[in-house]
Protein backbone atom coordinates (compact mmCIF):
# COMPACT_ATOMS: atom_id res chain seq x y z
CA UNK A 1 0.00 0.00 0.00
CA UNK A 2 1.38 3.38 -0.98
CA UNK A 3 1.60 6.39 1.35
CA UNK A 4 -1.33 8.05 -0.40
CA UNK A 5 -3.60 5.03 -0.03
CA UNK A 6 -2.76 4.53 3.64
CA UNK A 7 -3.27 8.23 4.40
CA UNK A 8 -6.67 8.23 2.70
CA UNK A 9 -7.67 5.13 4.65
CA UNK A 10 -6.55 6.71 7.92
CA UNK A 11 -8.27 10.01 7.11
CA UNK A 12 -11.53 8.19 6.37
CA UNK A 13 -11.30 6.41 9.73
CA UNK A 14 -10.70 9.74 11.49
CA UNK A 15 -13.67 11.26 9.71
CA UNK A 16 -15.90 8.40 10.79
CA UNK A 17 -15.09 9.21 14.41
CA UNK A 18 -15.78 12.92 13.95
CA UNK A 19 -17.91 13.48 10.83
CA UNK A 20 -17.95 17.28 11.16
CA UNK A 21 -14.20 17.52 10.72
CA UNK A 22 -12.95 19.02 7.45
CA UNK A 23 -11.30 16.62 5.01
CA UNK A 24 -8.11 18.70 4.86
CA UNK A 25 -7.65 18.52 8.62
CA UNK A 26 -8.34 14.80 8.60
CA UNK A 27 -5.69 14.32 5.91
CA UNK A 28 -3.18 16.39 7.92
CA UNK A 29 -3.83 14.26 11.01
CA UNK A 30 -3.59 11.05 8.99
CA UNK A 31 -0.26 12.08 7.49
CA UNK A 32 1.04 12.87 10.98
CA UNK A 33 -0.03 9.41 12.14
CA UNK A 34 1.62 7.87 9.08
CA UNK A 35 4.84 9.75 9.89
CA UNK A 36 4.80 8.55 13.51
CA UNK A 37 4.32 4.98 12.32
CA UNK A 38 7.24 5.26 9.92
CA UNK A 39 9.84 6.52 12.44
CA UNK A 40 8.89 10.19 12.08
CA UNK A 41 9.63 10.29 8.37
CA UNK A 42 6.93 12.50 6.92
CA UNK A 43 5.87 11.59 3.38
CA UNK A 44 5.01 15.24 2.63
CA UNK A 45 7.00 16.93 -0.12
CA UNK A 46 9.11 13.90 -1.01
CA UNK A 47 9.84 12.75 -4.51
CA UNK A 48 9.51 9.10 -5.39
CA UNK A 49 12.86 7.39 -5.33
CA UNK A 50 13.97 5.61 -8.47
CA UNK A 51 14.44 1.87 -8.30
CA UNK A 52 18.07 0.90 -8.35
CA UNK A 53 19.04 -1.81 -10.76
CA UNK A 54 21.48 -4.34 -9.37
CA UNK A 55 24.86 -4.07 -11.04
CA UNK A 56 26.77 -7.03 -12.27
CA UNK A 57 29.79 -7.97 -10.21
CA UNK A 58 32.04 -8.37 -13.21
CA UNK A 59 33.95 -5.22 -13.98
CA UNK A 60 32.86 -3.34 -10.85
CA UNK A 61 36.41 -2.94 -9.52
CA UNK A 62 37.63 -1.47 -12.79
CA UNK A 63 34.80 1.06 -12.86
CA UNK A 64 35.55 2.19 -9.30
CA UNK A 65 39.21 2.72 -10.18
CA UNK A 66 38.22 4.82 -13.20
CA UNK A 67 35.88 6.91 -11.06
CA UNK A 68 38.62 7.66 -8.52
CA UNK A 69 40.98 8.94 -11.17
CA UNK A 70 38.22 11.03 -12.69
CA UNK A 71 37.49 12.73 -9.36
CA UNK A 72 41.19 13.41 -8.81
CA UNK A 73 41.40 15.07 -12.20
CA UNK A 74 38.29 17.14 -11.49
CA UNK A 75 39.65 18.41 -8.18
CA UNK A 76 42.87 19.73 -9.73
CA UNK A 77 42.98 23.48 -10.23
CA UNK A 78 43.52 24.63 -13.81
CA UNK A 79 46.92 26.14 -14.49
CA UNK A 80 47.39 29.76 -15.49
CA UNK A 81 48.32 28.71 -18.99
CA UNK A 82 45.13 26.73 -19.42
CA UNK A 83 43.00 29.62 -18.18
CA UNK A 84 44.68 32.07 -20.58
CA UNK A 85 44.24 29.60 -23.42
CA UNK A 86 40.51 29.23 -22.70
CA UNK A 87 40.09 33.03 -22.57
CA UNK A 88 41.88 33.43 -25.91
CA UNK A 89 39.70 30.75 -27.43
CA UNK A 90 36.55 32.47 -26.15
CA UNK A 91 37.67 35.80 -27.60
CA UNK A 92 38.44 34.25 -30.98
CA UNK A 93 35.05 32.52 -31.04
CA UNK A 94 33.32 35.78 -30.20
CA UNK A 95 35.22 37.63 -32.94
CA UNK A 96 34.32 34.97 -35.47
CA UNK A 97 30.67 35.23 -34.48
CA UNK A 98 30.68 39.03 -34.69
CA UNK A 99 32.24 38.81 -38.14
CA UNK A 100 29.24 36.83 -39.35
CA UNK A 101 26.80 39.43 -38.01
CA UNK A 102 26.01 42.17 -40.52
CA UNK A 103 27.14 45.72 -39.71
CA UNK A 104 23.66 46.95 -40.45
CA UNK A 105 22.19 44.97 -37.54
CA UNK A 106 24.88 46.18 -35.15
CA UNK A 107 24.25 49.80 -36.18
CA UNK A 108 20.54 49.35 -35.54
CA UNK A 109 21.19 48.06 -32.03
CA UNK A 110 23.67 50.87 -31.33
CA UNK A 111 21.22 53.54 -32.42
CA UNK A 112 18.45 51.98 -30.30
CA UNK A 113 20.82 51.90 -27.32
CA UNK A 114 21.64 55.59 -27.76
CA UNK A 115 17.93 56.41 -27.94
CA UNK A 116 17.35 54.46 -24.75
CA UNK A 117 20.14 56.27 -22.88
CA UNK A 118 18.71 59.60 -24.08
CA UNK A 119 15.25 58.72 -22.75
CA UNK A 120 16.65 57.52 -19.44
CA UNK A 121 18.68 60.72 -19.01
CA UNK A 122 15.61 62.82 -19.70
CA UNK A 123 13.59 60.90 -17.11
CA UNK A 124 16.41 61.38 -14.59
CA UNK A 125 16.39 65.13 -15.23
CA UNK A 126 12.65 65.30 -14.68
CA UNK A 127 12.94 63.27 -11.47
CA UNK A 128 15.55 65.70 -10.11
CA UNK A 129 13.00 68.53 -10.32
CA UNK A 130 10.93 69.54 -7.27
CA UNK A 131 7.54 67.90 -6.83
CA UNK A 132 5.38 70.75 -8.16
CA UNK A 133 7.30 70.99 -11.42
CA UNK A 134 7.41 67.23 -11.72
CA UNK A 135 3.64 67.11 -11.51
CA UNK A 136 3.43 69.65 -14.30
CA UNK A 137 5.52 67.35 -16.53
CA UNK A 138 3.92 64.10 -15.42
CA UNK A 139 2.57 63.28 -18.90
CA UNK A 140 6.01 63.79 -20.45
CA UNK A 141 7.60 61.54 -17.87
CA UNK A 142 5.02 58.86 -18.57
CA UNK A 143 5.62 59.09 -22.29
CA UNK A 144 9.38 58.89 -21.85
CA UNK A 145 9.10 55.86 -19.60
CA UNK A 146 6.83 54.16 -22.09
CA UNK A 147 9.29 54.93 -24.88
CA UNK A 148 12.19 53.57 -22.83
CA UNK A 149 10.27 50.37 -22.18
CA UNK A 150 9.43 49.93 -25.84
CA UNK A 151 13.01 50.57 -26.97
CA UNK A 152 14.23 47.99 -24.45
CA UNK A 153 11.95 45.35 -25.94
CA UNK A 154 13.00 46.46 -29.42
CA UNK A 155 16.66 46.00 -28.50
CA UNK A 156 16.02 42.58 -27.05
CA UNK A 157 14.20 41.55 -30.21
CA UNK A 158 17.03 42.83 -32.37
CA UNK A 159 19.52 40.84 -30.30
CA UNK A 160 17.41 37.74 -30.70
CA UNK A 161 17.25 38.22 -34.45
CA UNK A 162 21.05 38.16 -34.55
Amino acid sequence: MTALQSIIKEAKAIRKKSPKMEWKKAVAQASAIYASKHKGKSPVGKKHAKKKVAKKKVGVIKKKAVKKTATKRAKRKPTEKAVLKSIKHAVSVQKAHMGKVSHHAIDRIKSAMSHLSHYEMAVKKYMAMPLKERKMHSTDIKKLRHLAKETKTHISQLKRSI
Partner: protein, 90 residues
Protein backbone atom coordinates in the same frame (compact mmCIF):
# COMPACT_ATOMS: atom_id res chain seq x y z
CA UNK B 1 -26.73 16.12 -5.13
CA UNK B 2 -23.14 15.77 -6.20
CA UNK B 3 -22.24 12.11 -6.94
CA UNK B 4 -20.09 10.16 -4.48
CA UNK B 5 -17.43 9.38 -7.05
CA UNK B 6 -16.84 13.06 -7.67
CA UNK B 7 -16.34 13.67 -3.96
CA UNK B 8 -13.96 10.71 -3.73
CA UNK B 9 -11.94 12.09 -6.63
CA UNK B 10 -11.68 15.43 -4.86
CA UNK B 11 -10.74 13.80 -1.56
CA UNK B 12 -7.93 11.76 -3.10
CA UNK B 13 -6.71 14.82 -4.99
CA UNK B 14 -6.56 16.84 -1.76
CA UNK B 15 -4.60 14.05 -0.04
CA UNK B 16 -2.20 13.74 -3.00
CA UNK B 17 -1.68 17.49 -3.02
CA UNK B 18 -0.98 17.41 0.72
CA UNK B 19 1.69 14.78 0.07
CA UNK B 20 3.29 17.13 -2.46
CA UNK B 21 3.34 20.00 0.04
CA UNK B 22 0.24 21.70 -1.47
CA UNK B 23 2.26 23.01 -4.39
CA UNK B 24 -0.08 21.80 -7.13
CA UNK B 25 -3.15 23.66 -8.43
CA UNK B 26 -4.12 27.31 -8.16
CA UNK B 27 -6.14 28.90 -5.36
CA UNK B 28 -9.20 28.70 -7.59
CA UNK B 29 -8.83 24.93 -7.94
CA UNK B 30 -8.37 24.47 -4.21
CA UNK B 31 -11.44 26.61 -3.51
CA UNK B 32 -13.45 24.63 -6.07
CA UNK B 33 -12.50 21.40 -4.31
CA UNK B 34 -13.85 22.82 -1.03
CA UNK B 35 -17.04 23.90 -2.75
CA UNK B 36 -17.56 20.44 -4.26
CA UNK B 37 -17.05 18.74 -0.90
CA UNK B 38 -19.53 21.11 0.74
CA UNK B 39 -21.97 20.87 -2.16
CA UNK B 40 -22.13 24.62 -2.80
CA UNK B 41 -22.30 24.79 -6.59
CA UNK B 42 -24.33 27.35 -8.51
CA UNK B 43 -25.10 27.08 -12.22
CA UNK B 44 -22.42 29.65 -12.99
CA UNK B 45 -19.75 27.64 -11.18
CA UNK B 46 -20.98 24.46 -12.87
CA UNK B 47 -20.46 26.16 -16.24
CA UNK B 48 -16.97 27.23 -15.27
CA UNK B 49 -16.06 23.77 -13.97
CA UNK B 50 -17.38 22.18 -17.16
CA UNK B 51 -15.30 24.53 -19.27
CA UNK B 52 -12.19 23.89 -17.18
CA UNK B 53 -12.58 20.11 -17.17
CA UNK B 54 -13.15 20.04 -20.92
CA UNK B 55 -9.95 22.01 -21.44
CA UNK B 56 -7.83 20.27 -18.81
CA UNK B 57 -8.65 16.65 -19.68
CA UNK B 58 -5.32 16.36 -21.47
CA UNK B 59 -3.42 17.01 -18.22
CA UNK B 60 -4.93 13.94 -16.55
CA UNK B 61 -2.86 10.77 -16.90
CA UNK B 62 -4.07 8.91 -13.77
CA UNK B 63 -0.70 9.32 -12.09
CA UNK B 64 -1.32 10.83 -8.66
CA UNK B 65 2.24 12.09 -8.34
CA UNK B 66 1.69 14.50 -11.26
CA UNK B 67 0.30 17.99 -10.72
CA UNK B 68 -1.87 17.78 -13.82
CA UNK B 69 -3.83 14.82 -12.48
CA UNK B 70 -4.15 16.43 -9.05
CA UNK B 71 -5.46 19.74 -10.36
CA UNK B 72 -7.86 17.99 -12.77
CA UNK B 73 -9.27 15.87 -9.96
CA UNK B 74 -9.52 18.81 -7.56
CA UNK B 75 -12.22 20.06 -9.93
CA UNK B 76 -13.95 16.66 -9.71
CA UNK B 77 -12.36 14.68 -12.52
CA UNK B 78 -14.13 12.71 -15.24
CA UNK B 79 -17.22 12.06 -13.15
CA UNK B 80 -17.68 15.77 -12.55
CA UNK B 81 -17.43 16.38 -16.29
CA UNK B 82 -20.29 13.95 -16.91
CA UNK B 83 -22.32 15.40 -14.04
CA UNK B 84 -21.85 18.97 -15.30
CA UNK B 85 -22.86 17.96 -18.81
CA UNK B 86 -26.07 16.38 -17.55
CA UNK B 87 -26.94 19.28 -15.25
CA UNK B 88 -26.31 21.93 -17.88
CA UNK B 89 -28.46 20.03 -20.43
CA UNK B 90 -31.34 20.10 -17.97
Amino acid sequence: MIPKKVKENVMTAIAANHLKGNKCATLVGKRRADQILKGELSIETLKRTYNYLKRAKTYDNKDWSKCGTISYNLWGGDEMLKYCKLKLKK
